[in-house]
């Protein structure tokens, strides 16, 4: 914990410095992950396996971009909260809209195909 806090203190006033090799490694990793997600389509995985793989690769890529490229990993906790708390509202909205979509779908089936 102490080590983490000392890392954080650099960001506060001084710009973060990392070796270029870190960015090259992350870049390579993003390339591999993108290739993997493309392979999901190329090999035509279907069903639950397809969705799990797509989401897993997507979150890994998004995490790498946010944490390393956008330097959020080295930001203070207050900044992380500023960025990650509001999107919870989006998750709730997605849940509500999927429930609504199911309702619309059922309503359409009932009225279009059941005269």
């Amino acid at each position: 914990m102490i080590k983490q806090s000392t890392e954080i203190q650099h960001v506060a006033s001084q710009p973060e410095q990392h070796p270029i090799s870190l960015y090259l490694k992350v870049w390579l990793l993003l390339f591999v992950l993108s290739a993997c997600s493309y392979m999901v389509d190329y090999f035509q995985f279907q069903g639950l396996l397809r969705w799990t793989l797509i989401l897993a690769f997507m979150f890994l890529k998004a995490g790498l971009i946010i944490m390393i490229f956008m330097h959020v990993a080295w930001e203070r906790m207050a900044v992380k909260l500023l960025l990650f708390l509001p999107p919870i509202a989006i998750l709730i909205f997605i849940a509500l809209m999927s429930i609504e979509a199911d309702y619309v779908f059922i309503t359409r089936i009932l009225s279009f195909f059941n005269p």
């Binding site: 806090s5 993108s34 397809r50 989006i90 199911d102």
Partner: protein, 229 residues
Amino acid sequence: MSNDEHQKNSQDNNTSPWQSVVNDWSADKQSFDMPWGKLMMWVFLLSDTFIFSIFLTSYMNVRMSATTAWPNPSEVFALTIAGHHIPLVLIAIMTFILITSSGTMAMAVNYAYQGNKKKTVYLMLATALLGASFIGMQAFEWTKLIVEEGIRPWGNPMGANQFGAAFFMITGFHGLHVSAGVIYLSIIAKRVNQGKYDKKGYHIVEITGLYWHFVDLVWVFIFAFFYLW
């Protein structure tokens, strides 16, 4: 480092991240210790997150509620290159180009803070060039879909009518962001080259970088939800 900052940092050394949040918010000064431009960029990106989320959510909503089959993106976006029928190939190339541009941008930010102006400008221009090629490919993709496949916002020959509306809205808005980013990058690269930030410091490169990485980030979600799902 000023005395005031030193005091705060040494205080942080033995506090938890949560305690640091309390300290940041209760101290009688600005809560976020970063240049105001960077904070404003973060606030803008947060609001942009909401806009793209709403587009993707509305796409999810129409796709789930459509009673006709959704066109298979793997087939819609397939290309025949040298006699080989490859699914989704152009989109894959676009993804790799955008990730590469994110890599060059991250390195530009690093070189900017090292004070290496020449490398910063070249890497920013490389990023802008990659972004421009992305837009070019998207223009090609749109032309193919509109002219050859007959996809319109109100209907298409392959399936659910909502496909076109969702596609043009989401990729169009993202393409607009990429175009704005290319212009933004070019302007900042020019100004860095002119030495306008020599005294002010190179935070502006990081701020531009944040915007560009965000554009790449949005593409990760579009690629997963629209093209692969």
